[in-house]
């Protein structure tokens, strides 16, 4: 009896039966319970005094902080492409104990096309250069801001010059794939 199952034909039949048994269509379903959206207006959120230190591309008011060279995107999208010279204005409530913060992403396609990338960053006219980023993936770059670069609470101008450019397959020229930029408490 057992020997019969050793014949390959039977083994394949058993395997085929397994396939059929495990791939069956569930048949029709009845409509599910209908979902009702929560009622009432959106509740107000508790204010976060440090939220404004940073502009995230997904922020509803991101456009108000973008001075130029950042491309549009789907509402709520967390990532946006920039040109080679994106610029931002951020209202900082404090003048000391700040880190510059940049989060962007380098894809394998970008890396292949242009190699390592460097960011020249200007904050209120003061300039510094980031290290070369030569690996793909999510990048978080932080750098302490020296005292005096931000003289008083209020608007701070940030400009980033990206080199080299990325000439993408769609014919466009891009600088970086940006998530957020600004400052964070040290």
């Amino acid at each position: 009896m057992l020997a019969n199952w050793l014949i390959p034909g039977k083994s394949f039949a058993a395997l085929a039966a397994l396939v059929v048994l495990t791939s069956c269509d569930p048949g029709g379903y009845a409509p599910p319970a209908q979902i009702a959206m929560p009622s009432g207006p959106e509740p107000a959120n508790a204010p976060d005094p440090d939220a404004g230190l940073l502009v995230a591309m997904s922020d509803p008011d991101a456009e108000a902080h973008i001075r130029g060279d950042v491309f549009g995107s789907e509402a709520g999208s967390e990532w946006r492409f920039t040109g080679l010279h994106p610029a931002f204005r951020i209202d900082v409530p404090r003048v000391s104990g700040l880190n510059f913060y940049l989060r962007c992403s380098i894809t394998a396609e970008m890396l292949r096309a242009r190699g390592p990338v460097t960011y020249d960053i200007t904050i209120n006219g003061n300039h510094f250069r980031s290290p070369r980023f030569a690996t793909e993936g999510d990048i978080e770059y932080r750098r302490p801001i020296p005292d005096g670069w931000v003289q008083s609470p209020g608007p701070v101008e940030i400009r980033i010059d990206v080199s080299p450019p990325w000439h993408a397959g769609d014919g466009g020229t891009y600088g970086m794939f940006l998530n957020s930029v600004g400052f964070e408490k040290r």
């Binding site: 789907e74 709520g76 989060r103």
Partner: protein
């Protein structure tokens, strides 16, 4: 005390495996030499023990006292039957200088491995699943049916041994069990080399593997790859012995080793193919019957393969899950999830293919480890072994077992091929003893942990010098784990805050070995993907059904209608958030007697009829003509309009409405919809949280870099969540 329990766990696992294995050797009448009995007996017994533990787990018998009884019974029976005794037959002696060299270099690295294995388990995949599952099974005293964790779908042959050891020595006992394979493999290789009359080749080959940085690292943590290499080599060894002895019963342990290899890692299914091919070829060449020995081998393999296939077929509806989801369609894993995983795994991450040999041997940054720079020379020179039959046999096996590297280019995937290539090189270089000696010494020097950073990538996974204070538990385990595992703080937070039985959702995976609550990770299951999309849809326009298609047509009485995709491609997948049917301007209320079907992915069809903008039916495959959603009213209904709500990322798809004009005959009702864009309702964030709650999720883990991290933090009131604690860059939110 903890160290004693870990050492006991490893020793008891070794003894139980040996007892079971030696009884098997006796049952099949294997005539082995003394050193072979140790290696082949252990591996054969490990295969048996793994399967027994799986069966016990299926019957909810995962208790330390059950395993203790099992081990004692195995040892008792083996002792009483005389199977425990080792033979007096010894392999031909080997030159003592080489033996001395082998023992001294081996001993030095074995101490290194022991120190690392004894330390609290902190390896990435170890804490993610290799030990996390045994920990879960031990907590629950059974192997539960898990449908929401991608990694639980893999075969877990080695993890069953980890579970056995874990029950006595907890997490580090798993690594110590793996270490048993690591320590025995070089001796197995040496035995084989002595059997074929090339002891120096055994010394060179065994040490090349044992000292390889990737084998040293992997083999002393709770991974499975060096263990797999030992099992694959054992299968090869059995086949070689069978070739010379022609004892058909030797194909039983050979088959068991092949099946066990599959049980450890799917990619090792090649072991069964290899054994079958060699046996069939040998039989055919010598004009002997082919089918009987092949059937015996196949059946023996199947004994260890079948339990994993049956488990997955029953629990997941796919015997080879997480792969093969296009063939074995099931409600637990999307075709797109498998495709994403494959794409991620076989990616060279921007690296040129010509750089791969250098990367996998020397740098190790992109290949999750390195084999050692010496292999840049070893591999090409090993090809010179083609001149001898023994060399050809080794190289054929090495080539075959290296194939999975093409699909998953990381260093540890090459470990099963390494013993064969190393022995082949040993055959070549043993003609020049000085060169062999220089190779070993150079490899040892370059593989010493303090030397590796001098040439390897700083991010390469590599062995470290042991932290003996942690290994001996003079440093508290928690202190060591906090330093080594970024998420350890989160794990303690979860245990402190989340009550038993409450489910946690996370966008990304993290260590699961040191906490109890169940964590649902977004990408790992269909449920996870759906809930993740609901959260994303609350924030991101790309996931919101802002596009409406309106199909108007003359009033017609129909019983069944379909929305059919008519174009190929045009989007990543074809999805419908909501499908509504109208008559005279009023929507037909959905009735319980309606029946909904969809193809592909029929299990999600209700999501297109649930009135939620946050959920959707999706093909989870590239759109193609013939995909459909079907609505059966039960009785003919007069209708004149159908609307489709969908996300905006599928502009290239085309669809039409059809009705069933005769059984299984479909006729077009409308194919030119009017399109419009609509605004989303308010309070989507709260609705998304309620969607999670409907599936038993009560908690949310968000890393600073996860999607929406900032949104969750700044809009807690709108979501209806409250931060319950933070650990490093993780925040734990309670759903309210």
């Amino acid at each position: 005390m903890q160290v004693v329990s870990i050492l006991f766990a490893a020793a008891f696992t070794l003894a139980t495996c040996l007892a079971l294995g030696k009884m098997l050797l006796r049952a099949v009448g294997a005539k082995l030499y003394r050193s072979e009995e140790l290696f082949l007996g252990f591996v054969s017994g490990a295969a048996c023990l793994s399967t027994i533990v799986l069966v016990l787990g299926a019957f909810s018998l995962v208790y330390w006292w059950v395993f203790l009884t099992l081990g004692c019974v195995a040892l008792g029976v083996a002792y009483l039957s005389g199977a425990l005794r080792f033979t007096r037959e010894r392999l031909p002696g080997m030159p003592w200088p080489w033996l001395l060299l082998f023992v001294s270099v081996y001993g030095l690295f074995a101490i290194l491995d022991l120190g690392n294995a004894l330390a609290p388990e902190a390896s990435p995949d170890g804490v993610l699943y290799h030990v996390a599952f045994p920990a879960l099974y031990f907590r629950e005293h059974r192997i539960p049916a898990i449908t929401t964790n991608f990694f639980s779908n893999f075969s877990q042959g080695m993890e069953m041994l980890f579970l056995f050891a874990f029950s006595f020595g907890k997490h580090s006992a798993a690594a110590m069990t793996h270490l048993l394979f690591t320590l025995l493999l070089p001796w197995g290789m040496l035995s084989y080399a002595r059997r074929i009359g090339a002891p120096v080749a055994g010394v060179v080959g065994g040490l090349l593997v044992f000292l390889s940085p990737n084998a040293t690292w992997d083999g002393s943590v709770a991974y499975v790859d060096v263990g797999l290499a030992a099992v694959v080599f054992a299968a090869f060894y059995w086949i070689q012995i069978w070739r010379t002895e022609q004892n058909a019963l030797l194909l039983v342990p050979a088959g068991l080793a092949g099946g066990f290899a599959y049980g450890i890692k799917y990619t090792a299914f090649l072991t069964v193919f290899y054994a079958l091919a060699v046996v069939a070829w040998r039989q055919w060449r010598t004009r002997r019957p082919v089918w009987q020995p092949c059937a015996l081998l196949l059946l023996s393999s199947f004994i260890l393969v079948a339990p994993w296939m049956i488990k997955n077929a029953i629990v997941l509806g796919n015997p080879v899950s997480p792969f093969g989801n296009r063939v074995f369609r099931n409600p637990n894993l999307y075709v797109s999830t498998e495709a994403d995983y494959r794409s991620n795994m076989d990616s060279l991450h921007g690296m040129s293919i010509w750089r791969v040999p250098y990367e996998v041997t020397t740098r190790g940054g992109s290949t999750q480890g390195l084999l050692g720079p010496i292999f840049l020379v070893v591999v090409p020179l090993a090809l010179l072994a083609m001149t001898s039959p023994a060399g050809r046999q080794l190289l054929l096996a090495g080539w075959l077992f290296a194939l999975p590297f093409c699909f998953f280019p990381v260093a540890r995937i090459l470990l099963p091929a390494l013993p064969f290539v190393s022995l082949a090189f040993g055959l070549v270089v043993s003609r020049w003893p000085q060169a062999a000696l220089a190779t070993i010494l150079l490899h040892a020097l370059m593989s010493w942990p303090s030397e590796i950073p001098k040439y390897a990538d700083r991010y390469a996974i590599r062995p470290m010098l042991p932290d003996w204070r942690a290994a001996l538990r003079l440093t508290p385990e928690a202190e060591f784990l906090k330093r080594r595992i970024e998420e350890y703080g989160l794990e303690t937070l979860l245990d402190a805050k989340v009550p038993p039985g409450e489910r946690v959702f996370s966008f990304g995976g993290f260590s699961q070995a040191y906490h109890s609550p169940e964590v649902l990770v977004e990408w790992e299951s269909t449920l996870g993907v759906r809930l993740g999309e609901a959260l994303r849809a609350a924030m991101q326009g790309a996931f919101q059904p802002t596009q409406h298609l309106d199909f108007h047509f003359e009033p017609r009485a129909v019983r069944k209608l379909r929305l059919v995709e008519t174009a190929r491609g045009g989007a990543g997948d074809w999805s419908i958030s909501e499908l509504r049917v109208f008559r005279g301007g009023a929507e037909l209320a959905r009735k319980p007697e309606w029946r909904l079907r969809g193809f592909p992915n029929p299990w999600d069809v209700q999501l297109a009829f649930d009135n939620s903008p946050l959920t959707r039916w999706s093909s989870r495959e590239e759109p193609r003509p013939g995909m459909f959603l079907e609505l059966d009213f039960g009785t003919p209904q007069s209708i004149d309009r159908v609307t489709v709500e969908r996300t905006p990322d599928q502009a290239g798809t085309q669809m039409q409405i059809e009705f069933e004009s005769a059984p299984e005959h479909w006729q077009t009702l409308a194919s030119q919809p009017a399109g419009s864009t609509v605004a989303m309702p308010v309070r989507l964030r709260r609705a998304a949280i309620e969607e999670l709650e409907r599936h038993g999720v009560r908690w949310l883990v968000v890393h600073d870099l996860y999607p929406g991290a900032r949104d969750f933090r700044l809009r807690q009131q709108q979501w209806g969540i409250a931060a319950a604690g933070t650990a490093g860059r993780f925040t734990l939110y309670r759903l309210e």
